[in-house]
Symmetry: C4
């Protein structure tokens, strides 16, 4: 506790450039902040496309050197960004151990590690998770209202959907077990987990066909599962529609409420979603 207070005092004395850098990296209200977000947006998408291309053998063998150079450029950019994020925040451990902090590290470090441990660049693929940050970058006023309406409706129907998924899962375990008893191994029903997998593939109307019932009884039960799956898809749809309808009624106010929020992030703990006039972080209490 004592250490923390000392630490906080240090942070307050941070040089002006640190404050400015914090504004650029963590916020989007200044022109520089917007420019940084847009750059990050494109670099993340580029980095994901790069990982995709590397995974295609034909492309990798032909353009290996070019891809490696681009990979190094992006890795260095991400390294600088990662260090800057740590330096400019008052409580670095909050960022480092946050979800985004771990993702940021994991999408940077594999290339360095690949020189120590062979094959570790495979984990570059985890970079795909950085796409989630795009949600935070795309703080477009237009989308915020719509997205928060969707979120509110899904949140309100959370419990009902949980009950529904719970029922579906128990049904799948029972039906899968029954099918395991009825069907031969030859048809692909080699174990109960595999039978349950098949039941869910059927119930959700995906229907790969890698496993399919061969006996008459098995096909009859499959038919029942299909019609069941066809029918109960109505349940989540019904739930969400009704909630959307409610949200839609109070739509305007939700939008206004969302627009009242600004894009500031707390310089101590990087929490977001502060009200426009807020002077203190609602999460850690330090001044914004």
């Amino acid at each position: 506790m004592n250490y923390n207070r000392q630490h906080l005092a240090d942070q307050v004395k941070t040089a002006k450039w640190k404050k400015k850098l914090h504004e650029i990296i963590y916020e989007a209200d200044t022109p520089m902040g917007k420019w940084f977000d847009l750059t990050l947006f494109f670099v993340i998408i580029l980095s994901v496309i790069l990982v995709m291309l590397e995974s295609v053998k034909e492309i990798d063998t032909e353009y290996h050197d070019l891809l490696l150079i681009l990979e190094w450029i992006i890795t260095i950019f991400f390294t600088i960004e990662y260090i800057a994020r740590i330096v400019t925040i008052r409580k670095p451990q909050r960022y480092i151990f946050s979800f985004y902090g771990i993702i940021d590290l994991l999408s940077t470090i594999p290339l360095y590690l690949s020189y120590l441990i062979a094959g570790s660049q495979v984990f570059l693929a985890l970079r795909a998770f950085r796409l989630l940050r795009i949600f935070r970058i795309l703080k477009l006023v237009k989308f915020i209202g719509e997205a928060s309406q969707l979120k509110a409706a899904l949140k309100a129907s959370r419990t009902k959907i949980a009950v529904f998924i719970y029922v579906v899962l128990i049904l799948s375990v029972i039906m899968g077990t029954v099918m395991y008893l009825i069907e031969d191994d030859a048809a692909g029903f080699t174990s109960i987990p595999r039978s349950i997998y098949w039941t869910i593939v059927t119930l959700t109307t995906v229907g790969y066909g890698d496993i399919a019932p061969q006996t008459t009884v098995g096909q009859f039960i499959a038919t029942v599962i299909m019609i069941l799956g066809y029918g109960i898809i109505a349940v989540p749809t019904g739930i969400v529609t009704v909630e959307f309808n409610k949200q839609s009624g109070k739509g305007k106010s939700v939008v206004n409420q969302a627009v009242d929020l600004n894009t500031q992030a707390c310089p101590s703990c990087a929490t977001e979603g502060h009200k426009d006039g807020a002077k203190f972080c609602y999460s850690c209490g330090s001044d914004l």
Copy 2:
């Protein structure tokens, strides 16, 4: 009738410990009752996972002894539970021949039988049905309201959905028969029941691909069935949505009504869903 009255009189004189055990096993209002339910909850899930693991050949060959020991522990636990349920209830035959009573017996007895009749442990898989009891264990106030709203909506749309499924089935029989006449045996349409199976696979948009039309006319009719299936999925969805909407309006009152119920089970016949102040079982009339 005379015998029954005598029997009832006997039951009233049941020793105090029997009454207490009944409360623990059949109800969830006391701390001991809650603890028992929670234990049972985890043992059931463990027993189902165990059966699943046994069905995977690789795991079964490697850990056969460990799995057998765990199987014996669970079977003994279930045996004790089964006997306790019979002993503590006033009318054991009601429990024994109830759906849950039969399931409880079937998930206990196969291991014993496997020493008499080889291969009978296969029926351990029927244990999956015990998962249904979890619904009764999970008497969480939060879920009851939501679940009963869902149930009420589904109940209200029951007749409409029955009409819908009826139409779908007749359509499937007709379409399946037509496809049998058109398609060759080579394409998998070897009999009318198989053709009907294929029609339902197609109409519900599952689409395994184990049977698929080869002729041009067959593919044309398949196309019609698909678009039909794609369109009529709107029907159950529409029905359920409208009912949810209605239920949602009177939602609050349904929740309150559900919360008024307690978790007591009649000591005579194990019927549940008694009102909070109820003194007599609404099903068999004996005092609670």
Copy 3:
């Protein structure tokens, strides 16, 4: 015209037993009528199951004689029914050339023909269409209201659904043609009709997998079609839901209106749906 009037005059003089038989066969208000309908109901279902069993090679070879005997019993029953329907109606040609009349003939005649033309018993399968008559037999008051609500909602959304299917079809033709240009014959896209077939299989989320894109561009377009199909399923659902909602509001009155109808069929032209107090057929004007 003159002949017809003469014919009508003849019909009026019909013997009492003809009138009674008409009541039994075409109506369901008398006990005998109900009994006849129920018998017909079970015979139709039995006849369809019989045709199904005959189509399963293993069953047919083993029980061929038994199935043939049952087939003859049903055929004779249907023949008697067919003749009775013609005899008891005032204008037989109306029944003979009606949809049900043709179906009734087609499900009776193949067995007789099979002695003249080998293989014509295949057309027994057309008997499945007789299942449609079950709708008329099942004139249960409970279902009429629900079914007519469903029908009214579907009828009201008819034009919108037509526009929707029309858009889907044009989209399928365009997408299918594009896929034909992109994909190789090896992947199964051997002709434009086949490509369109594949597009509809994909768009409706059926997905057999007998034809699947192999090239990267093809898979990309397939992805677009899938997301499109996944999204536009919302359109018919939305349309039908809104119409159900409207129908549901005026539901009661629709039910009452439906219940006002009786099960009488016009003795001249077999038209149904007459109001309870109606004295003349609303279709041909002859007295009921």
Copy 4:
């Protein structure tokens, strides 16, 4: 600019027959215009069917000459139509470089080119895009109202659906990447783009089965994706249903508004959707 004004002046002096031809080709208010539209409607459908038949090898080899003759007749009809459209419009470059202008050219020219460049008749398939013009031909009053209601509802839910598709795509990239790390090449997960393709095939419940997970972990994640896909289909459905509901309320007025529009096309730039009493084109300002 100067040239344009000169050009416009020329156009004003256009001979009477040009004006009349414009009315016939671009509008549908006169009997001749309606007749032309209907002819065009059938010729387009015929041309698309012709291209389809040509793509079926068996038909093409047998009826090659007949199909070629029909192809020439249609190509000549389309050539005359294309020239007439250019001649009768005041600003030909607007039509030539419009979407429909390019499609019209592309569905006419391949046959001529096929004598210069072998194989270019493949592009006749692009003629399928002409089907889109049918939307403009089918200016039936009955459908306009319904179609515009559908369009208004889809337009209103545009942003929400964009947010939804965006979330689905990011989820697919992340899930696809995870599956690539888990599954072997043997199962078909040879590269990240292919894994993403599989994820979308699964999430949209299409499920071809050409690629399917083999490992237990892979099948578990597949199960999660399926249930996710099964659940989130409720989201677009909910969105569209709510919007339909709103549109349905103000339905009448939308219809009236749509009916107020006439089928005139601006003689200068071919823009459509002019109000009934309009005297000047709302797009380029020249008189109608």
